[in-house]
Symmetry: D2
Subunit: 328 residues, 4 copies
Amino acid sequence: MIEVALFGAGRIGKIHAANLAAQPGVQFKYVVDVNQEAAAALAGLHGGSSATVETALADPAIKAVVIASSTDTHADLILRSAAAGKAIFCEKPVDLTIDRARACAAAVKEAKVLCMLGFQRRYDPTFNAVKTRLEAGEIGTPELLVVTSRDPGPPPVSYIKVSGGIFKDMLIHDFDIFRWILDDEAVSVHATGSCLVDPAIGEAGDLDTAVVTIRTAKGRLCQINASRRAAYGYDQRFEVLGSAGMLQAGNHKPTEVTAYGSANVSVDKPEDFFLERYRVAYAQEMAHFFDALSHGTPLRTTVHDGLKALELAEAATLSWREQRVVTL
Amino acid sequence: MIEVALFGAGRIGKIHAANLAAQPGVQFKYVVDVNQEAAAALAGLHGGSSATVETALADPAIKAVVIASSTDTHADLILRSAAAGKAIFCEKPVDLTIDRARACAAAVKEAKVLCMLGFQRRYDPTFNAVKTRLEAGEIGTPELLVVTSRDPGPPPVSYIKVSGGIFKDMLIHDFDIFRWILDDEAVSVHATGSCLVDPAIGEAGDLDTAVVTIRTAKGRLCQINASRRAAYGYDQRFEVLGSAGMLQAGNHKPTEVTAYGSANVSVDKPEDFFLERYRVAYAQEMAHFFDALSHGTPLRTTVHDGLKALELAEAATLSWREQRVVTL
Amino acid sequence: MIEVALFGAGRIGKIHAANLAAQPGVQFKYVVDVNQEAAAALAGLHGGSSATVETALADPAIKAVVIASSTDTHADLILRSAAAGKAIFCEKPVDLTIDRARACAAAVKEAKVLCMLGFQRRYDPTFNAVKTRLEAGEIGTPELLVVTSRDPGPPPVSYIKVSGGIFKDMLIHDFDIFRWILDDEAVSVHATGSCLVDPAIGEAGDLDTAVVTIRTAKGRLCQINASRRAAYGYDQRFEVLGSAGMLQAGNHKPTEVTAYGSANVSVDKPEDFFLERYRVAYAQEMAHFFDALSHGTPLRTTVHDGLKALELAEAATLSWREQRVVTL
Amino acid sequence: MIEVALFGAGRIGKIHAANLAAQPGVQFKYVVDVNQEAAAALAGLHGGSSATVETALADPAIKAVVIASSTDTHADLILRSAAAGKAIFCEKPVDLTIDRARACAAAVKEAKVLCMLGFQRRYDPTFNAVKTRLEAGEIGTPELLVVTSRDPGPPPVSYIKVSGGIFKDMLIHDFDIFRWILDDEAVSVHATGSCLVDPAIGEAGDLDTAVVTIRTAKGRLCQINASRRAAYGYDQRFEVLGSAGMLQAGNHKPTEVTAYGSANVSVDKPEDFFLERYRVAYAQEMAHFFDALSHGTPLRTTVHDGLKALELAEAATLSWREQRVVTL
């Protein structure tokens, strides 16, 4: 049995808690949250107990930690967990600053502990199938990637203010998809955007609609379009054009009902938001983490990937602010 | 905690075992199977133990049983479980003979125990959404139902011989869908078919391709087309034409990848077979059973539904054999 | 130049007139209609003149006639045109009675004139592609055909009364599709139906919703479902299950717009009705007729096909009326 | 009768010739081409005759000209036709240089003649339906446009060399779509690209894969992705995200057949190339031109639109060459 501590009892913490509980060979021992009531409630649901960071990290039985607390605590928890020799699963992002993210990468390396970053999209069945088929050469050499990334609606402006901005908060996932799918690194980034959804987002110094263009070392191209609002649900698609064809990853929807009416023929909207859309991906990534821990299989998403995505987010932010192409 | 015994450690027994284990408030106590090794292995996976029918039914802590053993044991286990005062979840069919199915219905009524029949399709998200939207009046009055029911490939002829024939073994589900969706009872049935997939099925006295037409008391119409073989996977669709539109329940598929190649544009085939296609439905039906047990909510699929579906299967068999329309 | 006379200046006559006018090597000379004003107007549009049947058939320059007048005039015009040695294109049906249809077939044979029947669906690009791919063996041996045939709304009851009934008036096309696609002849027919759309149709002795099952000499099966009303437009689909796969012919729609809204994701309804849906098919069948006339290529749809479809319509009518399976 | 002269008897000239011939109230009189044999053949097909530019423009009966000759002749023919007082339909582009395009615009204004530019996509039923629904407010305020523009394969390098480059030759259409759909003008353009399809294209100083980002005066955003090669056919899509939803214009395909096989479920590839894809659009734009000529209705695509699209193409070319954002 691998005993595990979970940091964070919020929305995403609950998802991970349920997946931890369902993991064969894993015992879900502690939940740590500043809201101790929430921690105790979540722990109780799955047979664990509430604890402090100190207790959790001091317990030698704890082999692994899952960090799902607020973004500003990630780096600190990674550093402390690494120092305590725990295997680490951390939600994205590593941190909002590159320096601290680099420090985490260094600490993890130094401590020789596993550190997996929760880029859950790489574990989604649809996205994964595209990757597998790409690698099998089904569409020849990839040339062009178009990513569509739209949230159903914007978060509260209070969140926007501490989010690090749309590129670090929202497109960080898309930057990771870009690196994974095109299997190449960026050499230049252009980003621009507008505030079309809510002027308060603009007043907070952020964008709500953003478009990014990336050119890679091999001359491959990527376009990302993102919005904080899609009236029709959570829109998560990408398509890769290759020399011999194209692969598209489409949205998932709740049911396969088609309705023929006097006005039109309709199907369900996409899934509401990430908890629904990536339900299977969250389960799969946790299984992957414990596979790696138990069998030494390589991690698919590491703190290095988090760092690279963060660099792209920084470059995009700079490009937007200075209205120029940024070279990496 | 509701303690439960499971009869049957085969393919479908394993599905139910996992769903029982994940059911909050339920303790999975015994597995009974003629293959005691299989029973012990399955029990071990989920923290229960292997037992005999007698032990399981004699244990007063057991409040409910799940019957997932071979068809020929269903009626006997229903009768014994009812006599022991257990709530019963039984896989379809109740029995292959109407007399014994009626005896089960009577015994259950007499014993005043819950008896749910495992017509899992009624718990599928897509099928359920059609039913809900029908009831909401979205397409007016239903008039015509077309059901497509095709297995990926035929079972072994040894199974065909004890299956009760294609109408009782395979279309029994479609007869239930017919009753549920059109919300009416049959007044006449016409069935015919052929042996086009494997002559050995014909030699065993059965069909492998069958078409059925049903007319209801309200004049509504239903056509079912079924085959033991669909080269492209498990094909489970239906569509209801109503006075104001149409609703279609389509197949589910593993991923939402679309591939554009030099030959065509393609998507995934439907899910392989019932274990994949109805994965969610199997979980939902088990939750429904324990909801009914805990909260007294009415069962959606009872032994009565099993009996009515069986009557339709008998009528269809007769229609086919005598090449005539059978009036009910 | 092949000079041609057109009988009938109504809805379908106008379609054929435009296609005749666009036919290279064809001169559109006469239009004949009891409504002489309509005839003159249509003739004027395309550079011909109004005429009587006698004039048209007596003109030796006329090599071909197109019969698009009302159903009750078809047989007489076929007989007279055949006697006059003209090549004949006749709208379906040949006649509402088998005897007269047979007389037409005999007269055509005797006169050794071409006589093409306007089963335009066989010339539709989608339907044709299915046929071509079937013949290429793409899905192995065909086993089961499901035909969906629904009009957007019923015709006036006055028309219903002279239509010959739903089987001869509407399903005649589907019976032809059945023969063409399964490439086999019927051995038994079962039909039933209801009057669910408009009670006046029932009072006129007809059905508005009908289902037919056909079994062929080779044991292949066909189910047809038909309604005089589909709230969502003209529904014209079929699917063929074969030993190695399935081919579906789907509806056509006016545009390829997809709309994502807060309620659902929608596309256009199918084309409104046959004039829109089979626009290309009507052009293609006329080209086929003149190809046959000019180059002696065999006709794809002859008076024989009209006769066979009529026999199926009669059998279906009998099956419905007598509530029994009819053997052919 | 409006008498018309056609300049150019090549691929696109033939399309226009057939549409001219089918235009009611239009007489197709002259075809002018440096290849007099081709001109005579095309003229013969539709009842006109071969002529020189001088003859055609000197004939006072000629009210309109259709310019479908090679790009380098457009400006000269516009200037001479305007001077001769003819209404002008000209294929895109006006010219490859902005100065000459401006001179054309000025000449047309001066001569007070109609001058329609053949941006045929605006007349396509699918694209038009999106525009109409946008204007009806179906998705609120448009915010983001994503355009996919991919040819099935590259033209010969000899053509590339005189084409003006990918932005003027190929994306010119997309720049027009951008202006039409977002109903706004560009304030900045960023473009980049690669040579991934054929190195010879790069040696000719051009790109074969290009991506463009445009920001408008109202802060709306547009991303265009283009390639000279799509192994799966001609890919012509766009989608507009608005405050209340999204509208997508999808590809058209030859038939509505769906094939279910042991490997996947497939449909037809998109139409092969522009002649097939925009067949209806070419007919509609010609009807629009003669409507304007006969009834004074405003032209939807003028030389001004050609000029604005050309400016965008120049800006994109500059952005690519200088690797910077270009402000307009």
